[in-house]
Amino acid sequence: MRKISVLLFLGWVCFLFYAGIALFTSGFLLTRLELTNHSSCQELPGPGSLPWGSQGKPGACWMASRFSRVVLVLIDALRFDFAQPQRSHVPGKLPASLPFLGKLVSLKRILEIQPHHARLYRSQVDPPTTTMQRLKALTTGSLPTFIDAGSNFASHAIVEDNLIKQLTSAGRRVVFMGDDTWKDLFPGAFSQAFFFSSFNVRDLHTVDNGILEHLYPTMDSGEWDVLIAHFLGVDHCGHKHGPHHPEMAKKLSQVDQVIQGLMERLENDTLLVVAGDHGMTMNGDHGGDSELEVSAALFLYSSTPLFPSTPPEEPEVIPQVSLVPTLALLLGLPIPFGNIGEVIAELFSGDKDSQPHPSALAQASALHLNAQQVSRFLHTYSAATQDLHVKELHQLQKLFSKASADYQWLLQNPHRTDVTLRTVIAELQQFLRGARAMCIKSWARFSLVRMAGGVALLAAACFLCLLTSQWATSPGFPFCPLLLIPVVWGLAGAIVCAGLLSVNGLKLDSVVLGAVAAVGSLLAFLWKAWAGWGSRRPLATLLPIPGPVLLLLLIRLAAFFSDSFVVAEARATPFLLGSLILLLVAQLHWEGQLLPPKLLTVPRLGSSAPVGSPRHSGTYALRLGVGLLLCTRLAGLFHRCPEETPACHSSPWLSPLASMVGGRAKNLWYGACVGSLVALLAAVRLWLHRYGNLKSPEPPVLFVRWGLPLMALSTAAYWALASGADEAPPRLRALVAGASVVLPRAVAGLAASGLMLLLWRPVTVLVKAGAGTSRTRTVLTPFSGPPTSQADLDYVVPQIYRHMQEEFRGRLEKTKPQGPLTVAAYQLGSVYSAAMVTALTLLAFPLLLLHAERISLVFLLLFLQSFLLLHLLAAGIPITASGPFTVPWQAVSAWALMATQTFYSTGHQPVFPAIHWHAAFVGFPEGHGSSTWLPALLVGANTFASHLLFAGSRLPPPPTLALPV
């Protein structure tokens, strides 16, 4: 009964954590569905004929093209004020005092000389302001979120309809030069491309100089329709120096020269677009949604007059995605399917001399096409998911049908007036803006309330765990009543909440319901526990964390609030771990538990009787500590660099062996990997053998004897196949393919069966029963109180053994009265540890298969580390500890730090791009079809392998491990 109630209690705690995490992520992770539909030239976005003025023109697609060619110059992180012309005659203000102000003089000149040819806009960027998301937005016209729930796995290529796709399918030649992010986003889309690595943000010039080398020759060659140049220098300068550095002035002057050169070479049929993809903060960073990050510059120029009016005093603010439909229609292309931007109407002023109101009508037709496309997208999207708000969607549809009807009436009615045209344009713009606002609302907004609620719930659950971990060790802790009441309260809260929601006609949200239930049950539990149990004790006993360990834990907590430390966590965690280890050793020495006391007293009285002798030789703990530090440091050699630190080089050992070229080195590495497997296996068997757990005839022991080597053999064979699959002769291809499917599954199956066996018969104690002939009952000397010294221990342990012997004999004599029996039980000391070690080894093999081969060395280090740490902790725990199941805080902190450290040394990083997707294909080389839970399970197991293993190895209580009988 108690077992079940404890299990239920743990389940309830798990529920609390999951409810908190779900609440937080529902507020934090912006999600959006990617649609794969495409706009096509033949198919108009809505009913109606081709718009006015484009019938019968060649190359017209939805609308006649205004420009046949475009030069798109993308300057990474070109903030709006970098491009803003500085008015030199403002009184009382120093002109261009900052290095980034007023450096783009050519923009200012051209805006003054040719006001009808050029225009500068402040483009409003949607967060997240990272380059990849911005590039997606600038080509699809949509709002990319952190997670774009797409159909493709492990590739960055854009699947949504986009400008580049439309350009290539229309047969235009797209030439690209610059940032190699485009290579991943648009694989094979460019007729000619010059990619330069964007990896090193310290390097200001390589990308820009590379572009400049090719830009003018390509432009003069004329073999292009769309030329895209993505400069990175300004962004890198921001990251390296910040915008206030003189280097930024140089970089912007260089950009100015580029724009000047381009404008001089521009032909009449070409449009020049200079755009920044996002801004930057005062420190030169970006990614968030502050005002400086979301305002970018957008500059348009054509050598023929383009705008009907002169530019306004203060540049107009437009959303960044407006560029997408504008460029599409100007180039005579269909607008990408998922676009939610609104065309910049003043660019569609049409020809000057054909109709009474040509300019306004051309604008209305462009807007109408755009509105039709957005309406079609909203319709398709809302059919696919439930993200969008139904009521607002309905209103928008009504608005659109009215505007559309007005527009159709206008087309048929020859006596249109300027006023009616203006109303139709205003209506269409209202619809487009409404649609965009609705999409932003549902896709691009963090819910701070949910995030804060989730964090609070998680913190409360942590606090609950801390309290119960102290209370539950005391006997008679009332699990059952303490559990029932919160569950009832939680259910009641959930029901009330559901009732309230349904009365108000709101949608039932399972996340909110779960959170309400969790909060209700948690409050009830805390109140009940406090009233019935906690208030009788002083508060200090509830939080028995020793000072130095608490300090380390606090430092670790504080580190999460500094983004530098989040980036450097891979280095900070081993440092903290090392500090904890040395602290443990120093503490042991300080307490005098390392050295015999005669060393610690002044030699004159050295020969006096020892007060309490330490259990180990003097350097034992020191050696353990240094060994641990060495393991930590060696594991640190396997590291993957975070994206943010350019100077860092990732370890080459994280890549799979299949990617190695040299045959000899590959063989050596393969040997090392198999060697580490064998060493792991041998160490585990040696340990079990040393503590006598291999003698018992229980099935788990048999499995350890025969199943583990088999698993190691299959693993080694799988690695051999995986690393050399390409070199296999053609006859054996089928065999190799089959084996690479079967072997990992066999290992996983063996591990699962071994774990089941272990669950069934966890105790590997050898119990021998035989007919005792001349046994005499031993007289037990009474002993009370906990043992305090080695001498006591030497005395007590045999006593316990004898006592148990007597007990067993007495019981057996009761059941079998026919003859006296003796029972001998061996390996009682390592009864818990043996089961746990076996389980961990079983778990380690399938997890190892999910990683690259050379990670096996890290796994070996992991086992070594936990072994050393357990011994170090056991050396420090006095025999008079409160019980074998009390785990000291040092141990818990050390495990947590080690789990994080191994997470990093197995090549992981806590960012989405660093997830090891290839783990999903271990044992399933052909993919999984439509099922998603199995790949998710495999990738999850790969990501959290270290946490799984360390959570498991937390269980063998140190005294039990270190005190084999």
Binding site: S562, F575, H589, G592, V602, L629, R633
Partner: protein, 252 residues
């Protein structure tokens, strides 16, 4: 048993006079005045040590061009280490806080000195190894890491060598609970531990993206060690003076 009885037999406020004077016993007022003069001596010696560190910052700029702690950090490390070692040796020879051993033949002195040198080198190397284990680069910046180990040894090992001699057992005794037997050892304990803590704290700002010149390895750690050492030098006389009523040193 023998230990406890012996302690119980002696009056509790029995002091081991750390100077060369014979142990003056029993009279508690006398003991207190001895303690006060000791604390004063301790304070003066510590002030001298701090002064030597300050000198190491300012004097080289008269002789070397472009000298500054951050720009020519390695030079400063060497100079500071030399200054502190010299002052420690000088103070040891002048103040002589420990009773010298009976054997004081020249050969004994020489072997003792050689032993001290070997101990110092050993401590430098072991500190270097520990830094590398803590995550310092293995191959790059070897000289920087080693000089850092040298300066940390200067702050910790050299005072130990001066006060306790090349005697590992005495060192281990001083750095354990209830192991100190005099004011000098107590202050040694405090300064050494605060040097280590300063070094450890000095490593914390390295990952921050402030891009300051002192965040480069190992400058922040050496500065942390120096500040820790200076703080220990300041704190230990004050702490001992504050707790002089409670402090009794077992002269067993």
């Amino acid at each position: 048993m023998g230990l406890q009885t012996k302690i119980a037999l002696f009056p509790p406020r029995r002091l081991n006079c750390p100077l060369r004077c014979r142990c003056v016993s029993q009279i508690s007022t006398h003991g207190n005045t001895m303690k006060d003069t000791d604390i004063k001596r301790l304070l003066y010696t510590h002030l001298l040590c701090i002064f030597s560190i300050i000198l190491s910052v300012f004097i080289p700029s008269f002789f070397l061009e472009n000298f500054s702690i951050l720009e020519t950090h390695l030079t400063w490390l060497c100079i500071c280490s030399a200054f502190v070692t010299a002052v420690n040796l000088l103070l040891y020879l002048v103040v002589k806080p420990t009773a010298s051993s009976k054997k004081s033949s020249l050969s004994h002195k020489i072997t003792r000195f050689l032993k001290c040198c070997i101990y110092f080198l050993m401590s430098c190397f072991s500190f270097h190894i520990i830094f590398v284990l803590y995550g310092a680069p293995l191959i790059e910046l070897v000289l920087e890491t080693f000089l850092f180990a040298v300066i940390l040894s200067t702050f910790t090992t050299v005072p130990c060598l001066c006060l306790l001699g090349p005697n590992l057992k005495a060192w281990l005794r001083v750095f354990s609970r209830n192991g100190v037997t005099s004011i000098w050892e107590n202050s040694l304990q405090i300064t050494t531990i605060s040097s280590f803590v300063g070094t450890w704290l000095g490593a914390l700002p390295i990952p921050l993206d402030w891009e300051r010149p002192w965040q480069v390895w190992p400058i922040s750690c050496t500065l942390g060690a120096t500040f820790g050492y200076v703080a220990g030098l300041v704190i230990s006389p004050l702490w001992i003076y504050w707790n002089r009523k409670q402090l009794t040193y077992k002269n067993n």
